[in-house]
């Protein structure tokens, strides 16, 4: 059985699954229940001078019947007194000495205030400190959170203040609300940070009520931009984590955050170099219990792949992300439709015609009219033919079957055909196909040696001008 134990910037972890600093880590009682469920660590809900929150605080984006594809919040840091949070940290650490407890901190941007806060958090027994330079709403208006994280000089300065007194590892939490996340990552590294966590939430307005014209969440007829998270942000987070980890001036042990809800998501972030992962939205949706399959699924996958420890695969995908100019222009794939799986929805046909390269046709019965000049029936001609056809309700006793059973599940006329000579290998049809493995992309030998854009332009003596 694979081991999920890991050491993150010096912090011993029983597994890489941490709860992110957020409502699920609001108090000690919650965190202890989370540890009982299997979580390896928790980043405490950000501690600082207590604030007053508004109601309501959350809003979400549903998609095609799925709830909470993305979640948005305008909640601030902890609304509980600092001493209460610290007393509970001590209690949690006393009862769960093997679990990682990280204190997330945010205070006024003054050296003495930071020094004081750091000392108190460490005295309480936290295993590490996470500097919240990312919160994009509310706190930023008071010169904290992302107001710090968006200015590299401030981020570096405060990191230096903290490092002056900190004895435990210091994580700097990065905001994605910046043009290039690496700029602040580099500043944090220069400031002496031991590790990074990314990404914090993304500035968002999830939607507007079309009856009241008020954006959500509604606070007495008004709203404010919030922080977006959940499954919708995972691709953005994955890119940002990758870009930091691929940059030597930025790279530090990374606790990855952003839309992680399953072991698969976790494995992907580990593959781009993350040391631990932090989860919030998925727990807010389903509760702490989700960690069971995150642990089980990741171990199972590691066993299947022959990885004994997380270090065996950490960062394996980093070299596989490259600049576009290094991609092989002579690699060619084409779409293949498995007729026996096709259900005849023709979504690939219309997607290819309207959204791609017009090379998937519904002409298996009529035959292709591929000649010197290609002639194909356009999609709307098929629709018009349908609308003008005569259909009757078949009465079994009186009428013959409408379609004689063919070779495949779907009628042949509805199983599209790929014109492989025209297919550009864009993947779109395989993405829209609702049947697993029905459309696959097959490599076709181009008969040419691999060649990148950079190599081609170099050969031609073209100098890129921007």
């Amino acid at each position: 059985m694979a081991s999920l134990k890991t050491t993150f910037a010096g912090i011993e972890c029983i597994n890489p699954f941490w709860l992110a600093s957020a409502p699920p880590t609001n108090c000690g009682e919650q965190i202890m229940r989370a540890f009982d469920a299997g979580w390896g660590g928790a980043v405490w809900k950000t501690i600082g001078e207590p604030i007053t929150n508004v109601s309501s605080r959350y809003s979400s984006v549903d998609w095609a019947g799925q709830r909470m594809m993305g979640l948005n919040n305008i909640e601030l840091i902890s609304d509980r007194p600092i001493e209460v949070n610290l007393a509970e940290i001590a209690e949690v650490k006393r009862r769960y000495p093997k679990h990682a407890v990280i204190a997330s901190l945010m205070v006024e941007s003054r050296r003495d205030v930071w020094h004081e806060m750091v000392k108190r958090a460490e005295d309480a027994g936290s295993d590490g400190l996470e500097l919240n330079f990312g919160c994009p709403h509310g706190m930023s208006e008071r010169g904290m959170g992302s107001a710090v994280g968006q200015v590299p000089e401030y981020a570096q300065m405060i990191t230096e203040w903290v490092k002056e007194v900190a004895c435990t590892p210091v994580l700097v939490k990065l905001t994605p609300n910046i043009t290039d996340i690496r700029v602040v990552a580099r500043a944090a590294k220069l400031g002496g940070a031991d590790a990074l966590s990314a990404i914090n939430t993304i500035n968002s307005i999830t939607g507007i009520d079309l009856d009241t014209f008020t954006p959500r969440p509604n606070v007495d007829g008004k709203s404010s931009h919030g922080g977006y998270c959940g499954p919708a942000v995972k691709p953005i987070a994955l890119n940002m984590v990758q870009s930091v980890m691929a940059d030597p001036a930025s790279a530090l042990p990374m606790s990855a955050i952003g839309g992680i809800g399953t072991w698969r998501d976790a494995a992907e972030f580990l593959l781009v170099g993350a040391g631990t992962v932090q989860v919030c939205t998925a727990v807010m949706h389903y509760g702490y219990r989700i960690v069971e399959d995150m642990i089980d699924g990741l171990s199972q996958w590691m066993d299947e792949k022959g990885f004994a420890t997380l270090d065996d695969f950490r960062g394996l995908s980093l070299p596989r992300v490259t600049e576009w100019k290094h991609l092989n222009l002579n690699y060619k794939i084409v779409a293949q439709i498995d007729e026996s799986l096709c259900i005849g929805c023709d979504l690939c046909h219309i997607a290819c015609w309207d959204g791609a390269h017009q090379c998937i046709h519904t002409d298996r019965v009529t035959g292709p009219v591929d000649g010197h000049v290609e002639v194909h029936r356009k999609p709307m001609e098929a629709v018009h033919a349908t609308m003008n056809s005569i259909a009757v309700t078949r009465i079994p006793k009186m009428d013959p079957p409408a379609v004689s059973p063919g070779l495949y599940k779907a009628p042949l006329a509805r199983i599209p055909r790929v014109d492989e000579t025209e297919c550009v290998g864009c993947n779109l049809c395989s993405l829209v196909c609702p049947v697993e493995d029905c459309i696959t992309m097959k490599e076709v030998p181009a008969g040419l040696a691999p060649e990148t854009w950079e190599e081609r332009t170099a050969k031609l003596g073209i100098v890129e001008q921007c």
Binding site: I343, G344, C345, I350, T386, I390, V392, A410, R414, V435
Partner: protein
């Protein structure tokens, strides 16, 4: 909403192709999903002006839902009928009107004879093209079999009548007036075209000794039950025949309080013309089936049946074995006879097997002034088939009268 999201939104969808009126199913379902329920209903009405009825009475299992691609991936088909019903009920409950297309008023007059689905659909479509239309209906209430002939539990009278009213609101004139053979000459002079949507005539009589009393025709029974004119039907009922009307009559009898309701059929279950789900429904209602029996006499509340079988030549033969069945009321549901006599008064119209012969695409009869559709043409099919016939005939009529095609919308 969950169901509307489940629809894959197929392109050139098989459900749309299977619908005789070609309702654009994915289009209306995705409008429900987007929260545009009124727009959904309007898009349905564009294709089928009696969509509210159809959502209730259509045998969706053999139409739209039967062709859903979900079957090919071993999943339940999208509940298209239920979604359509949701959209149409919402439309009528909100008191919305059928949108009238922008078009010039035309100096053309068409008479639609019959007040059923074919005629109403034809009239509504013609009106949308700017034609002046009058529907002539011989009964007290318009709607034809939707109002009188479809089982009450599927379609209430009020649900049929609200559609009639919506069609009237688009400017179709409906007169509750019987058209006699003698009126036709005047009609031919007065109107530019005449649509025949007269349906079928009386139900076939049960020609057996004693069959003069204690017999009630299935359509009269259903109509009486629906309109509340019949409140009880006796304790024992025997329905003769095993089509969908027989099922409706048998279920109506059960619901009118009969203890024992038998469906007597001279062939076996595999030969019945009722849809499988109708048969299942009757079983659930407690209707019993007596296969391979043919009524030969009715004697004081007892129906005497002879056993039947198929001989080597494949013909149905009546055997010697007799079965007696208690039946205070016998309900023949063995098909309707064509309105042959009435129709034959229209000179120059060709018939075959008691049906008006038409060009399927245009509804044109062999007489240039007459078009036809619905049961009198197809011998008795579903409401949706009648609507499709009426719609095609309307386009046939406008084309014959030289009306330019008006774009939808």
């Amino acid at each position: 909403m969950v169901e509307a999201n489940r629809c894959l939104n197929c392109f050139d969808a098989p459900c749309t192709a299977a619908c005789p009126t070609h309702i654009d199913v994915p289009r209306f379902i995705k409008k429900i999903a987007s929260g545009n329920v009124a727009g959904s209903a309007r898009s349905i009405l564009e294709a089928n002006v009696l969509a509210g009825s159809c959502a209730r009475v259509c045998p969706v299992e053999v139409l739209c839902e039967g062709s859903c691609v979900m079957h090919h991936r071993a999943e339940k088909p999208i509940m298209i009928g239920r979604l359509q019903r949701y959209a149409m009920d919402n439309f009528y409950e909100r008191g919305l009107q059928i949108p009238v297309r922008q078009r010039p008023e035309l100096p053309l007059r068409v008479a639609c004879i019959g007040g059923g689905p074919a005629s109403l659909a034809c009239a509504a479509e013609l009106r949308q093209a700017g034609v002046q239309v009058t529907v002539f209906d011989k009964r007290d209430l318009a709607g034809g079999l939707n109002t009188y002939g479809v089982a009450e539990y599927k379609l209430r009278v009020s649900e049929s009548l609200r559609e009639v009213e919506a069609i009237q609101a688009t400017g179709v004139e409906i007169l509750q007036r019987e058209v006699g053979c003698e009126d036709l000459a005047a009609f031919e002079r007065e109107f530019d075209a005449i649509f025949l949507g007269v349906g079928l005539g009386e139900m076939h009589r049960l020609r057996i000794p004693g069959g003069e009393t204690g017999v009630m025709d299935a359509l009269d029974l259903i109509a009486g039950y629906k309109t509340g004119e019949i409140l009880s039907v006796g304790r024992t009922v025997a329905v003769i025949g095993c089509g969908n009307t027989a099922i409706d009559a048998a279920v109506a009898s059960k619901r009118l309080g009969a203890d024992e309701v038998h469906i007597v059929y001279r062939r076996g279950p595999e030969e019945m013309s009722a849809f499988g789900f109708e048969y299942e429904h009757a079983l659930q209602e407690g209707v019993k089936f007596l296969w391979w029996r043919q009524p030969i006499a009715l004697e004081a509340g007892t129906l005497i049946c002879a056993a039947t079988s198929i001989n080597e030549a494949g013909d149905l033969v009546v055997g010697d074995m007799r079965t007696e069945l208690a039946a205070e009321v016998v309900v023949p549901a063995i098909g309707q006879s064509p309105l042959a006599e009435w129709l034959s008064s229209v000179k120059g119209i060709q018939f075959a097997k008691g049906r008006v012969v038409v060009d399927r695409a245009t509804g044109a009869t062999s007489h240039a002034k007459y078009f036809a559709g619905g049961d009198c043409v197809n011998g008795g099919r579903e409401v949706v088939d009648a609507v499709a016939d009426g719609k095609r005939a309307a386009r046939g009529i406008t084309a014959a009268l030289g009306v330019m095609e008006v774009a939808h919308g």
